[in-house]
């Protein structure tokens, strides 16, 4: 999908190169439309990438849980310790990010 987005962005760039061929009165508006299209395409690509990241993480946890069930084994205290450490690390990073965001005007 990211390749498709990249190709569309290249297409927009190529179309921008043809702008001088347009009549002067339409050129500015067409340029604005292409610039806006490029901007929103980048935004969409960013949203898509972040959502995919969360989906990958949840899929990895699901794989872990399925493997435990298939093997008929319980979760070990060490695995639980690691999961709790990840929660604490993520929480600390979140709070630091929030503090920075709130301090930024």
């Amino acid at each position: 999908m990211h390749n498709l987005i990249l190709q569309t962005q290249f297409l927009l760039a190529a179309l921008s190169a043809l702008l001088p061929l347009l009549p002067a009165e339409a050129r500015e508006r067409a340029g604005q439309i292409l610039a806006a299209a490029g901007g929103v395409l980048s935004l969409g690509a960013g949203v898509s990438a972040q959502w995919g990241d969360l989906a990958d993480k949840l899929a990895a946890i699901r794989t872990d849980v399925e493997a435990m069930a298939r093997a008929g084994r319980a979760v070990t205290p060490e695995e639980l310790d690691a999961a709790l450490t990840r929660v604490r690390t993520a929480s600390a990073a979140f709070r630091a990010a929030l503090e920075t965001a709130e301090a930024t005007p």
Partner: protein
């Protein structure tokens, strides 16, 4: 607003939404497939960590509305203590079970009682953690929908 302007806006919206919608993977629910109480706790903790990591990215993003950042902060402050309590409860449960499994048959009565208490605490901790985790998940999903 002219017809051409409207078409340009529609094109912009379509370009923004199409890649996201087309590539949005279905989100897994690891909690739903857990077959034991400790696996459920493990899935809850992992899901929460993934959500908080996502929420941190949202908070760092300049285009996230301040109201959403504040709501995420409130949700995290409510959920993290419950998830930490869940982590402590499930670790105690796993250790109590390991001790019980390792004990000779004749010496297991007190360990069985300890395990039953740990199991009850774990069930309570799961119930207490589920709602705040769902609240955070709803906020993260709201931003993505």
């Amino acid at each position: 607003m002219s017809h051409k302007t409207l078409r340009a806006i529609m094109l912009a919206c379509a370009l923004a939404i199409a890649p996201s919608c087309a590539s949005l993977p279905r989100l897994e629910n690891p909690i739903a497939i857990a077959q034991s109480v400790d696996a459920r706790a493990y899935a809850l903790m992992g899901t929460y960590a993934a959500l908080i990591e996502e929420a941190a990215d949202l908070v760092r993003a300049a285009d996230t509305p301040p109201a959403l950042k504040r709501a995420l902060g409130s949700a995290e402050r409510a959920a993290t203590p419950a998830v930490e309590a869940l982590g402590i409860a499930v670790i105690a449960y796993a250790r109590a079970r390991r001790d019980l499994d390792a004990a000779p048959a004749g010496d297991s009565a007190s360990l069985a009682a300890s395990f039953a208490i740990a199991a009850r605490h774990l069930s309570d901790a799961i119930l207490a953690a589920e709602q705040p985790i769902q609240a955070l998940a709803a906020l993260v999903r709201t931003d993505r929908s």
